[in-house]
């Protein structure tokens, strides 16, 4: 090695590799790599593909439970949902591309996550999206919101997968770096799940889908680079999505999966043919030979480098059983897709690339994979926030509520989700606007899946550990609030530059919090994605570990929704209210302060309170359920009233009205039930060990807080429904 090292002449363009990494390349290759080979190292060792900064910490997350069929490491996570059925899901980021070209960036993000899920044999049944934009008044925000929403809708609507949920925040820290995280949930039979490990000496390697063009060359390395002002230059790397082809690809792949022709299958995601072929061979301990001239090309004159690094969309790589090529080809021809045998598996442990009869690349697979860098980046613990001092309340209580309900982070997202087809496939039992979306399980008379995405970045910023816990707990709570049993999560870790110890500290803290919550709630991580370097000119985003949760509802007929159902019903509050105002939206949006520690998450209380609520829902004892999150008790009540179109009269628990009404204490749910059954409900909850109290009665056309004031449901609704459409119309 030292001989090689002595002679090192670093190429001008290291393609994003560090000098130390280049030294390692020389050591592995035993010679100077050619451009194609260096390109392959560069993408395989990019942050995006190698998880080099995060691996050490991700390993600490709990990934096992009796119902986990496949945890992280495959294209998506797989859980057992009973009756031989499996739910397959994952969330993935497309942040940088969406900032550069919001429509296509978001669209191809949806396309990519769909492929991760159907590649495993699942029929995609639902999409969700977790979005973060800059301040509404920032010059580019409106354009980005519009482009991203149209892109998600344009793609999802066309492929015919309902988009059933998500979340949206606005904050100046995302001004130069928006977050677009897309999640797909699919359904498969447990005995029909497909994996990506290549096997079978001599087996054909088959390329299907769209042709390869010069799209997004080096996109994977771009996704791992920080933005600077010259990133405008990187524009040609934008990829264009073709949802029509994706739809055909889904149908064709699922049709092929019904035969037994497939040995292994993998989508071509970031770093296209490179990472897909490399990972399949590596996982199976095989070698692979690829004839790049056989790859269907969209443009003439493409080079081996371009074929290997293209990120053209809507493509898959399949290892077939020998002899099944004609059958497979017939299916792809029927769906008018390209099909080409481009290589075969070997036992050499090497990846050999050929082009025009010449060998243009030869790399050892295991050493490259094994040497994939892993860093223990220096980090510092995020210092605790100073306790919140005295708060001045600038507005009367109900006026503050009226203002808060129409604030950018609190206003209705209807303008967004009405542009998404959330009904296609006919199984959507709970549409967006509730706590979690509910989608029935095909072929089962009563079973359904509940799903949600959540994260409160301002909490994570103030205290990564508590914030990490909270994100997980909130998904668990939202799934519980519709009556379902939370089963597992996927995570999408969006952070700034990991080479900065304070940012790395946020990451480490958030992972610790997520881990604690997953353990306490029996709610493992089965898939995920990391997006680092989300910063512009040295300014990082709020740390945003978006969590996607999935649960199962045994009988969809018992499903709870958040709207009040009838006037005259009792309103009950489960969970303890201390009035924690630190890092609340009320404090930020009404009092103009982002301060104090976030609410702490008592995971034991989460579990006790949630289990009690779920039990009540299952027994049909409650008529409406809603968890308390952003905006606290007052906002949660307002949301239930707006959904019903009628109000309520309540007395807040004793204490400072603003703290009690707007504090964001965790582990709380609001319930309604017929007044005469309130005692039975209270008794049941207390028997389960959870605190519960009565707040008042539903009815009337206004929301009245005893001693504090009244606000009409119509006024709440107009503030809540008005903000986003008004903002998007340029008002």
């Amino acid at each position: 090695m030292s001989e090689v090292k002595k002679a090192v002449q670093y190429p001008k363009d290291l393609m994003g590799l560090s000098k130390a990494e280049y030294d390692l390349v020389l050591q592995i290759m035993g010679r100077v790599p050619n451009t194609v080979e260096l390109g392959i190292f560069s993408v395989m060792w990019s942050e995006h593909c190698s998880y080099k900064s995060s691996k050490k910490w991700l390993k600490t997350l709990p990934t096992k439970a009796p119902w986990v069929i496949c945890g992280p490491g495959e294209n998506a996570g797989v859980i057992d949902i009973g009756d031989g059925d499996a739910a397959i899901f994952k969330m993935e980021s497309h942040n940088h591309p969406s900032f550069i070209e919001p429509y296509q960036g978001a669209a191809t993000g949806v396309g990519g996550i769909l492929r991760d899920v159907f590649t495993m044999g699942a029929r995609p049944i639902a999409n969700l999206n977790a979005l973060r934009f800059g301040a509404p008044e920032h010059a580019r925000t409106r354009h980005l919101v519009s482009g991203v929403v149209h892109g998600i809708g344009g793609y999802g609507n066309c492929v015919g997968v309902p988009t059933v949920g998500g979340e949206v925040n606005f904050h100046p820290s995302y001004n130069g770096n928006i977050l677009v995280n897309a999640m797909t949930v699919g359904l498969a039979k447990q005995d029909k799940i497909f994996y990506s490990a290549a096997a079978g000496l001599g087996n054909p390697v088959v390329y299907v889908g769209s042709k390869t063009g010069r799209d997004g060359i080096h996109g994977a390395t771009m996704a791992s680079a920080e933005f600077t002002d010259d990133s405008e230059e990187k524009r040609p790397t934008v990829q264009v999505g073709d949802p029509f082809t994706e739809k055909l690809l889904i149908e064709a792949c699922l049709e092929l999966m019904n035969t037994d022709a497939i040995v292994a299958i993998q989508d071509m995601g970031a770093a296209g043919l490179t990472s897909s072929s490399f990972e399949m061979a590596s996982k199976g301990g095989m070698g692979i030979v690829i004839d790049l001239d056989k790859v269907p090309a969209r443009e003439t004159g493409m080079t081996p480098f371009e074929f290997m690094l293209s990120e053209s969309q809507e493509r898959m790589l399949i290892i077939l059983k020998p002899g099944s090529e004609p059958q497979a080809e017939a299916i792809f021809k029927k769906w008018e897709l390209d099909f080409a045998v481009i290589g075969h598996l070997t036992d050499t442990g090497r990846m050999v690339l050929r082009f025009n009869g010449e060998q243009v690349g030869d790399l050892p697979i295991d050493p490259l994979a094994a040497a994939s860098p892993e860093y223990d980046r220096p980090w510092v613990k995020t210092p605790p926030q100073k306790p919140l001092g005295r708060v001045n309340h600038p507005l009367p209580f109900v006026e503050a509520l009226g203002r808060l309900i129409g604030a950018p982070d609190m206003a209705s997202r209807r303008w967004i989700w009405e542009q998404y087809d959330h009904l296609v496939r006919g199984d959507t039992a709970q549409i967006p606007g509730g706590d979690a979306a509910v989608v029935r399980v095909e072929g089962h008379p009563t079973k359904a899946l509940a799903m949600t995405t959540d994260c409160t970045p301002r909490y994570v910023f103030a205290d990564p550990v508590e914030g990490g816990k909270q994100a997980v707990a909130e998904t668990w709570r939202n799934i519980t609030a519709v009556g379902a049993r939370p089963l597992a999560i996927t995570d999408n870790m969006n952070f700034g530059n990991p080479e900065r110890p304070d940012i790395m500290g946020q990451f480490v803290g958030a992972v610790e919090g997520i881990r604690a919550a997953c353990l306490a709630l029996d709610y493992p991580v089965v898939s995920g994605n990391v997006s680092l370097y989300n910063e512009t000119n040295g300014k990082g985003i709020l740390p945003t570990p978006a969590i996607g949760g999935v649960g199962v509802l045994d009988d969809v007929a018992t499903m709870a929704t958040l709207a009040f159902k009838l006037p005259g019903e009792a309103i009950l509050l489960v969970g303890r209210t201390n009035g924690h105002l630190g890092q609340s939206v009320y404090l930020r949006d009404i009092c103009g302060q982002e301060a104090g520690p976030p609410p702490s998450v008592d995971l034991k209380a989460e579990r006790t309170n949630g289990d009690a609520v779920r039990l009540l829902i299952g027994k049909g004892m409650v008529s409406a359920v809603h968890d308390c999150s952003d905006g606290g008790l007052a906002v949660a009540l307002a949301e239930m009233a707006m959904a019903a179109g009628f109000g309520a009269e309540v007395t807040l628990p004793s204490g400072d009205a603003f703290e009690i009404g707007f504090g964001e204490d965790q582990a709380r749910y609001l319930l309604t039930c017929p007044a005469e059954q309130a005692e039975a409900v209270i008794a049941a909850v207390e028997a389960a060990g959870a605190p519960i109290m009565k707040l008042g009665l539903t009815g009337g056309d206004a929301l009245t807080f005893q001693g504090l004031g009244t606000i009409s449901v119509a006024a709440l609704k107009s503030a809540h429904e008005g903000w986003l459409p008004g903002y998007m119309a340029g008002k």
Partner: protein, 84 residues
């Protein structure tokens, strides 16, 4: 006075619409069709002070509109033509 702005996808950018149109023409029996690309043609009626300006200035103004709104410069090109 009118301006026509022709917005087309940059070379090398995938044009799914064009591809699908090409396939549909083939299946209608039009065999001798190679690549198909679909673009937009936006016709603007120019009025007021702008219409009275010398051509190069009008052209510059329309180019400005194309860059700011009509074309998505990340993936599209445009050309401007003044008519009448």
């Amino acid at each position: 006075m009118k301006a026509r702005v022709h917005v087309s996808l940059k070379n090398g950018v995938l044009d799914p619409q064009g591809r699908a149109i090409g396939q549909a023409l083939h299946s209608l029996g039009f065999a001798d069709i190679g690549e198909v690309r679909q673009g937009k043609l936006i016709e603007l009626e120019l009025t007021g002070a702008l219409a009275a300006k010398p051509k190069p200035e009008i052209e510059a103004a329309v180019k400005d509109m194309a860059q700011k709104l009509l074309a998505n410069m990340v993936i599209e090109n445009y050309s401007v033509e003044l008519v009448g």
